[in-house]
């Protein structure tokens, strides 16, 4: 293993971890308001495919990103209608949204499979422009990567330092108390879900328009669910989500490196490393109730008579 391969793992972890981080941040906001979004996988797919399609059509990746973000928000509004307005079960509604997303994204992306796009441009880390091409290309990142960590801080600030964030967290803990304080828990949950969708859309856009630069069916490969797990890993805290996303994508990149370096282990087994890691983390955090889940996570808010 040399410097180049370590740099490779690092670079690949950052590229694949960015979409995961955005999605996780979105889910942190959603779950802080009390909503588990199991439909994220579907939201990601629809956002990724429509963003990609728009990029192909317009030739402008920025318009593609914008469309992916808005579609993400709108997809979540479907979930919002089901669980906030119709008071449906959160988990069932989320799964329904996921399957809907599978179908819809396949339909949207069908004619764009294999299309070439004008991807988001990559900008080398400042000061590293003069490195050999091989190195500098590994250290050139697109704008969404540069903004990912600042966005995590922004989410933290929103949740813990603003009036809106206080109300949102209150809804996730005890919606009746939030209501008694003069807030509208339904409205706040819609807002949280919309923001959750916007951030998932941003993650999806990074995946199809910046990182892989392609559309293939089911290209998200479980990222929506990993994000839900990472929220638990980060214990509902946006800054710990940075660590979680990097650790997970680092594990993915590392096992890819192992595979390519010809380790005598079945590649199928190596494929499972990141997921085994996820399971281990969930086990480790399991019984720990301190600073853990928002108290009314997953509960339907029924309002008062």
């Amino acid at each position: 293993m040399n410097l180049l391969s370590i740099l490779g793992v690092f670079s690949s972890a950052i590229f694949s971890g960015t979409s995961l981080l955005y999605t996780t941040l979105g889910e942190v906001i959603g779950e802080r308001s009390g909503i588990v979004n199991l439909g994220l996988e579907g939201v990601l797919l629809v956002s990724a495919s429509s963003g990609f399609a728009v990029t192909v059509i317009t030739g402008n990746p920025y318009i593609g990103v914008l469309v992916a973000v808005i579609i993400g928000g709108l997809m979540n509004m479907i979930l919002g209608y089901l669980i906030i307005h119709r008071k449906a079960n959160q988990l069932a509604s989320g799964l329904a949204l996921m399957f809907f997303g599978f179908g819809l994204s396949a339909l949207i992306g069908k004619s764009y499979v294999g299309a070439k796009i004008n991807a988001l441009p990559r900008i080398a880390l400042p000061g590293l422009e003069n490195l050999p091409k091989l190195y500098s290309s590994l250290l050139s990142f697109d704008i969404l990567i540069y903004t990912a960590i600042p966005v995590a801080f922004l989410v933290w600030w929103l949740l813990f330092r603003t009036r809106w964030g206080l109300g949102l967290r209150a809804v996730g803990e005890n919606a009746d108390t939030a209501y008694a304080s003069g807030r509208d828990p339904r409205l706040i949950r819609y807002q949280a879900l919309f923001l959750n969708g916007l951030l998932a859309g941003l993650g999806a856009a990074h995946l199809s328009i910046a990182y892989t630069m392609t559309w293939t069916e089911y290209m998200t490969a479980g990222r929506g669910f990993i994000a839900v797990a990472l929220v638990i890993f980060s214990r509902w805290h946006p800054l710990r989500a940075i660590v979680g996303a990097l650790l997970f994508s680092g594990a993915v990149a590392f096992q890819l490196l192992l595979q390519s370096s010809g380790v005598q282990v079945s590649p199928f087994l190596l494929d499972t490393i990141p997921y085994v890691l996820t399971v281990l983390v969930l086990i480790a955090w399991g019984g720990n109730r301190r600073h853990s889940a928002p108290a009314s996570l997953g509960r339907v808010y029924h309002g008062t008579e």
């Binding site: 603003t162 009036r163 005890n174 108390t177 008694a180 304080s181 109730r289 108290a295 008062t304």
Partner: protein, 512 residues
């Protein structure tokens, strides 16, 4: 106090009516609330006190009626409207968020909170008011780490800082020890002097006579009468609260025998708590035939864990449990049940019934092995019914066998659980908060059931936070604090203040 007849009310309710499915909770209620007054709303559970105040707070919406603020009609459709009318309320089951700090909980209710929070400024505002009324709290503490008494203080601070002029307190003394109640009344007295209007919802007559200026009694959703304190007596209030005279509790002599072998014995029991639970430490306990052993304590000091250990729902890491001198440490609930252990838990709807099953099905649940026929492919409903009816005759109350458990009122549900647990004459009965949420008549029936069981020779472990009830029924009284027994008394050899101080872990002082 100026004569209230000369003043116009701060808030008037006129003809407030509210029905829930199957219940008329409020039936054309008129009520006037004055500033600088403590107005007690007295009545049985289910008389409609909380509903009425939740309507005034906008938490429920009335079907009919009018609310007037200084004579002008206003519309209160949500707590937001109530807050702009400067009305604040503390709910019965305190509504603080345990995962938030004190400051965050209070900030949630600040009227002019800035878009970007300034923690220092919020802390300063809290400290200022808390100094003014002697309600010391640490704004940075997590609410989950506060005692119930401290949480009560935070709730009151929250109301004061929310700029409310009318403070509604729903059963604020329910979870407080006697000396904490006196401190609370002191604070309320100061608030009254500063011009606040206070509504105190309660069903405790003594408290009303101790601190209220004006008393309104509600009975089954209607106003039974309003009295000034000067004209109120306990007798008059009882007459207003109950249509019929209450049948008194008949307390028979206990037949305990000090020398007999204990039915239940715990030796040095220790548990390991998970999450927010309490760890029991060094619990020694004996319950003999024919005695009621009372366990006093503020809830959340290990009562639930104690019940769970006795019944076998949690395992203990140290110590031994004997039932009839047989070591049953860490054996299953089923093994305990079959030896004749009855359990009346604190929350019958959540812990002792399946809400969507009928009463009869619920009755069968702990005894399915007794009524199973043909290897469990059939249940002998007839003999179950006969057994229950026999108990009904003994205890003097009954429930509808075919009602869905969820549709029963709290009192009837508790009756169902008591009937079920008393059937088959259990040798040991664990009764936890037996009368919580029961109206006075149901409470008397429930207590009578325990006394009858004692007369039969059953041993009873009786957990409660109602000291009066504990002193009335217990043969021996233990005080549970922080997962340990911190005191053991004969009720005749102590008083509520001594026990109250032990319950809250504070030093015993002389209260005048």
């Amino acid at each position: 106090m100026p004569n209230p007849q000369d003043r116009s009310p701060m808030i008037s309710l006129r003809g407030i009516t509210k029905s829930f499915p199957g219940v008329l909770a409020n039936d054309h209620i008129d009520l006037d609330i004055f500033s600088s007054e403590i107005h007690a709303l007295l009545g049985e559970n289910g008389a409609g006190k909380s509903t009425l105040m939740k309507i005034l707070f906008g938490f429920y919406r009335a079907d009919a009626g009018e609310i007037r603020l200084s004579g002008k009609p206003i519309s209160i459709r949500s707590p937001r409207d109530a807050r702009s009318a400067r009305i604040g309320m503390v709910f019965q089951d305190l509504n603080l968020i345990p995962a938030f700090t004190v400051a965050e909980n209070i900030a949630l209710f600040l009227p002019n909170l800035k878009v970007v929070l300034n923690p220092q400024e919020i802390d300063n505002r809290i400290n200022e008011i808390s100094k003014q009324y002697g309600l010391a709290v640490n704004p940075r503490a997590l609410v989950s780490q506060l005692s119930i008494g401290e949480q009560q203080k935070v709730e009151i601070l929250k109301l004061l800082l929310s700029d409310a002029r009318l403070l509604i307190l729903d059963e604020p003394t329910r979870v407080l020890a006697p000396h904490e109640v006196e401190a609370l009344f002191g604070v309320l007295d100061n608030l009254r002097k500063d011009g606040y209007a206070i509504v105190l919802i309660t069903h405790k007559m003594k408290e009303v006579l101790q601190c209220a200026d004006r008393i309104t009694v509600l009975r089954s959703g209607r106003v039974a009468g309003t009295l000034l304190r000067s004209e109120a007596t306990e007798e008059k209030l009882v007459k207003l609260m109950f249509e019929k005279a209450l049948s008194g509790l008949k307390i028979t002599e206990s037949k305990r025998d000090e020398s007999s072998k204990p039915i239940l014995e715990l030796r040095g029991i220790e548990t390991r708590a998970e999450g927010a639970g309490v760890t029991l430490k060094g619990i020694d306990l004996q319950v003999r035939s024919g005695e009621i052993v009372g366990v006093a304590g503020v809830s959340g000091n290990g009562q639930k864990e104690l019940c769970d250990v006795v019944l076998g729902m949690t395992t203990c890491v140290r110590g031994e449990k004997y039932l009839f001198e047989q070591n049953l440490t860490n054996r299953s609930v089923g093994a305990m049940r079959r030896k004749g252990v009855g359990f009346i838990p604190e929350n019958p709807l959540a812990m002792a019934s399946i809400p969507f099953m009928t009463v009869l099905e619920n009755m069968a649940l702990p005894h399915t092995w007794r009524y199973a026929r043909y290897g469990g492919f059939a249940i002998d409903w007839k003999s179950l019914k006969e057994d229950i009816q026999k108990t009904e005759k003994q205890l003097g109350f009954s429930v509808n066998f075919y009602a869905i458990a969820k549709s029963l009122s709290g009192g009837n549900l508790q009756r169902m659980v008591i009937l079920r647990e008393m059937t088959h004459d259990p040798h040991l009965i664990i009764a936890s908060y037996l009368t919580r949420g029961l109206d006075m008549q149901s409470a008397i029936a429930a207590r009578q059931a325990l006394i009858q069981a004692r007369e039969r020779g059953a041993g009873i472990l009786f957990i409660s936070e109602d000291l009066e009830e504990l002193f009335m029924l217990s043969d021996r009284l233990l005080v549970l604090y922080g997962g340990r027994f911190v005191g053991e008394f004969k009720p005749s050899e102590t008083n509520i203040y001594e026990v109250g101080h032990l319950m809250t872990g504070s030093k015993v002082e002389h209260v005048g």
